[in-house]
Every structure is written in structure tokens, then in C-alpha cells.
Amino acid sequence: MLSSREFQRWERQAAARTPSHAWLWTVAVAAALAGWVYHGIDHGDPTTRWLVVAVAGFALAFLRAPTHFFWRSDATLLARLPIAGHVLFDSGLRRSLLDASRYALVLIGGAAPLLATDAHATLPYLAIGAALVAMAAGAGPAACVGAGTLVTQDRARQLLAGSAPATAPTAVLGGLPGFVAAIAIVLVIGCAGSLDGGSAELPWPLVAAALATVGVGSALVARQAWAVHMPAMLRDVTTLDRQQLATLQILPAAPLHRLLAPAMSPAAARLLDVRSRLMSRRYPMASVAGALAFVILLVLAIWPRVDLSLFVTTVVSSAVYAVMLARRLRQAPTAVPRLERALGITEDVQRSAHTAWVQTWWWLFVGVPGGIAAARANQPAIAVGILAVATLLAIMAPRRQSQPA
């Protein structure tokens, strides 16, 4: 059977052929962050800017972990091949480590102006950043495999044997990683005041040490205790996907989609409804992150700040997230393309449905509250310009995604 090394050699071979500009984007984001932090040295609070991006980047890196473990695009193939659990776990861990290393590069690049100005004062920030990197690399995989094990060992069995609705067990798959990420973010916010030497609920050395320890330790424990369940996890999640997809076909359209339907072709409206249900089940963090952006922008609309940094961070990271979601819309489970082909759904219909989904998400969570916040900002022209560029980036994303052959 395949060893970890052999499997990863195949993966690297596939990755080398797959067109990806991830590292280029990483360098670009690091440079943009460095420029923004540098600008903040004279015009605002540079360390706050860096920390806000660090937290947003952590959420993105952490929540990609499920796509490296049980929501892999090749899950249906891997589930039926005799590949050992630790081999699958190592593969997911390696992908998470790659994400974490890109995240680390952004943090280090972004911190360059701070280091050049006052290296000593920057060290606490870098320590927290390193701890967040360790969490993304280790606790993300551990939370995923823990959630998958829960589903495999307990709740999926109940579902598969009974007539309970098919939504409950899979909520754990996205919910547990989201919960762990939220705890880490709360801890960082709790110690933020102490990073500049001030008082805070929690001292930063304690938080950094705790996060780093949990990050490294949980990955080791997960590999030892839960990796063995990976094949069953892939199989059960594939089964639950099929169950959910079967259920999707018989549910009535959601109220929001009934409103949008007259503006679309019937096929696109139906596809939009299916995709929305799929996204809300598989990526509940899309709604959580959207709601978070909505609340921040609403707060900024009510209490406009002098510094635009929070507005810019929220809008830009939301746009980046919308691009990721547009990509995710394309990576549907195998059964969906099959169903779509059976229904005669064309590339144009797909593009139309995906654009509608991203636009709905964007305008609901970011566009409308962002517009109000931008209008009330003390530099409204800049704020509106940034929002316009971000909006363009977000709503064009589904059109730029090419259909796999």
C-alpha cells in the first residue's frame, strides 16, 4: 500500500501541474500589508492594522483545513482506495502546513516596517503571530479530524440508521473548527492591550504560549488518536453529501431565492437554490464571516472612526473571502456535476447562478452596510473608492473561474 511519502509525491506532482498563483498572491498581500502598516506609522496605529490582518488571515488559514481533510475534491476516489488513515492525515496536515507557511509569510512581510522602526516593541506581536500560525497549522487539522471522528463514530451512524434530518451531523464538521478558531481569536483580542505594554484581561506571553502549545500538541494527539478514522471519515462524509444532495432536490426554494428567481432563467434559479443550500451546509463560516463583516461595518456606520484601517481591512478581507467562496462554488461534490449534466445545466447557467450567489452574499453582508459606513467616513471618497474596487473584485470572481474540463 501507499506510504505517506509515496502519496505525497503523487500530490506534489499533481500540485506542480495545477495552475496556482498562491505564492504570488501571498507575496502581493504581504507587500500590501507592509505598505499599509508603513502608512500607518505616520497616519494611524500600525500595530493595530497588523493585528487586525493577522486575525483575519488566521481565520482564513484555519478554516481552509476542512478542505484538506474531509471535504477534499478527491474524497470519493480516496474513500474507496485502500489508503491508510495516517497517510490521509499526513496529506491533510501537509496542505495545512503550506497554508500556514503562506500565512506566516504575510505576517512577517507585513511586520517589516514595524521591525525597522522598533524591533523590540514588535516582538510581542510577532510572538502572537507565531502562535496563530502554529494554531492554523496544528489545531486546524486536529479540529477537523476530531469533528470527522465525531461524525463517523456517533452521529452519522444514528442518521444513517434512522430518519432524522440530514443536517445535524454535518454541522459539526464546520462548527467545531469554527468554534476552535473563535476561541483563539477571542484570546488574542483579550491580550491585545498587553502587546504594547498596557494592561489587558490576559497577558500576551500566556496567550502566545497556550496557543502555540495547543497548536503543536493537538496535531500530534490527533495523528496518534484519530488519524486511523480518516478512511471512514471520507466515506461517511461522502455518504452524507449524497444524502444531503438527494434532500436538496426535494426542498422548496428559500424565500430569498424565490425573490431572485424572476430575474434568472429557471435552470439558474434552481441551481442557485441548490448551491446556496450546499454552501450553507458545507461552509457555514461563509454566513458567520459575513455576519461579522456586517456587524463591524454597521458599527462603523453608526460611529465613524478617524482611521479607515478597520473599514479597509473588513472590506478587503471580505472581498478576498468572496473570491475564495466563488472558487468553492466550483468545487462541488462529484454527484452535483453529474446531476447538473443530467438536467442540462450549461456553463452560462452555472456562471449566472454562482454570480447571483456571490452578489447576494456580498450586498447583504458587505455592500449595503459598507456603503453606509463609507458615506459616513471622514474620508468618504477614499472609502467609497475602496468599496467600489472590492465590490468589483468580489462580484466578478465567479466569472473568472474557469470550468474544469
Binding site: M1, L81, P82, A246, R338
Partner: protein, 239 residues
């Protein structure tokens, strides 16, 4: 017997996709699995491949539960559409599957030659047409001497040459003792070579013809199987 399905049920939400079916596959058999869309054929094959978890029932391959590595290594499944690594070449994809089953990458070359796919061995999977993808899926199902070969409408969309290559490869597989279970809507070449026909409808196995019964049916004429299908399954549209 090489594969045993015992009281298999698979439920999707409130709907029974497969409802308490039992059958066995014997070494060297080529079995056709027929039924209308939504009959439960693909779900049965997926469950037998170990790709999905049954709601109830057991599946064993050579005496081992299908979820064990030993059983998985013996099962080849060409699903619909075939799950391929888009950025691998054809040879790499089949080689990966061979190696995952404990075989040798070199076996991929032999299977591709058998199926007449040498000319596209170096082409990336993402560039393949529908029919070519079906054939690569079949190659991946056959590689590493699998002893239970499950095909989900794999012959659909193949040209006559490709169909002939595929049937020859399946005949060779049964000759070495493998069992082939193949769902299809295309009766004809496959019908003439099969040893057994199973008919599914609404998740139930409603007919299992083999031996003398199948021979008697064949004597009734070239459309006898199609006539039986129409007679046993009412035209209700998709279920």
C-alpha cells in the same frame, strides 16, 4: 462466491435508494444490472465499492467487509462520471490507482494497452472527452488485477471500437476469475456476453436471471431482454 451483498439498504433522507437487497457475485461472472433512472443501481455499486456507508446490511469481498483495506484492494469501481485527477496524465492517474491498490505503476501501461489507450497515455485527464474519460475510468477499475469490477454506465458514450476493447478486457478479467457487475441502459453487445442479468426498480431487486432461465430468455429473440424490461418495469418516468 467473490462478493456477497446481504440485506443492503441505503437511505437518502426519507427515500430508500436501495431497499433490502441481497445477492452474490461468483468468480468469472459478467452480470448486467438493469433498471430505470433512480432505481438504485449507482447507489448499489457505490456501496459495494466502499465509497458510501450503507444504512443497513453487509457487503463482503472475498470474505472481508468492504471497508477493510484488503477488500478495497480487490474492488475496482468506474463511477459516473469517473473521478479522475484532472492534472495527472492518463498513465499517471491509472498508475496512482494501481499503486494505491498495492500494485505496480507498470501495470497501468499494460491495462492502457489492453484498452487501446496507449495513444492518450501522456495526455492530461482534463483534456479528455466524455468517452475517453469513461475508458480511463474503466482502466482504473481494472488495474492491479481487481477481482470485483463495478461499472456504472461505463459503456455509455463509447464508440464501437472502444466498446469492443472494453468488452474484450472485461472478458479477459472474467477469464482470470474476476466478477464484473455492470449497470447499463445499452443492451446489445453486453447483453450477448453476460452470464446473468439483474433487474432493479425503486430500490428493489425484482429479477435475477442466470443459467437456464437466461438461456431460455435469449432463445426468445434478440429483443427478449428489452421486452422483459418493459414488461416488468412500468414507464413512470424518473423515480
Amino acid at each position: 462466491m467473490i462478493a456477497q451483498v446481504n440485506q443492503l439498504s441505503v437511505r437518502y433522507g426519507r427515500r430508500n435508494a436501495v431497499d433490502d437487497i441481497s445477492f452474490e457475485l461468483r468468480a468469472g461472472e459478467l452480470v448486467l444490472l438493469l433498471g430505470p433512472n433512480g432505481a438504485g443501481k449507482s447507489t448499489t455499486l457505490s456501496a459495494m465499492s466502499g465509497a458510501i456507508t450503507p444504512t443497513a446490511g453487509t457487503i463482503t469481498i472475498a470474505g472481508q467487509p468492504v471497508v477493510t483495506d484488503a477488500a478495497k484492494a480487490k474492488v475496482g469501481f468506474a463511477d459516473q462520471p469517473p473521478a479522475l485527477y484532472e492534472f495527472f496524465t492518463v498513465e499517471e492517474h491509472v498508475g496512482f490507482v494501481a499503486q494505491a491498490r498495492g500494485g505496480d505503476r507498470a501495470e497501468a501501461t499494460a491495462v492502457l494497452t489492453q484498452l487501446g489507450l496507449q495513444a492518450i497515455a501522456a495526455r492530461p485527464c482534463r483534456e479528455l472527452s466524455f468517452g475517453m474519460r469513461q475508458r480511463v475510468g474503466l482502466a482504473a477499475a481494472l488495474v492491479a488485477n481487481t477481482s470485483v469490477i463495478l461499472l456504472d454506465e461505463t459503456l455509455n458514450g463509447l464508440d464501437p471500437h472502444a466498446t469492443r476493447h472494453a468488452l474484450a478486457a472485461l472478458t479477459a478479467a472474467t477469464a482470470r476469475g474476476a466478477a464484473v457487475l455492470m449497470s447499463t441502459h445499452l443492451l446489445g453487445s453486453a447483453e450477448r456476453r453476460c452470464d446473468r442479468v439483474m433487474l432493479m426498480n425503486k430500490g428493489k431487486l425484482i429479477e435475477d436471471l442466470h443459467g437456464d432461465a437466461l438461456a431460455a430468455l435469449a432463445q426468445r429473440g434478440p429483443t427478449a431482454l428489452e421486452d422483459l424490461y418493459v414488461e416488468r418495469i412500468a414507464d413512470e418516468g424518473p423515480t
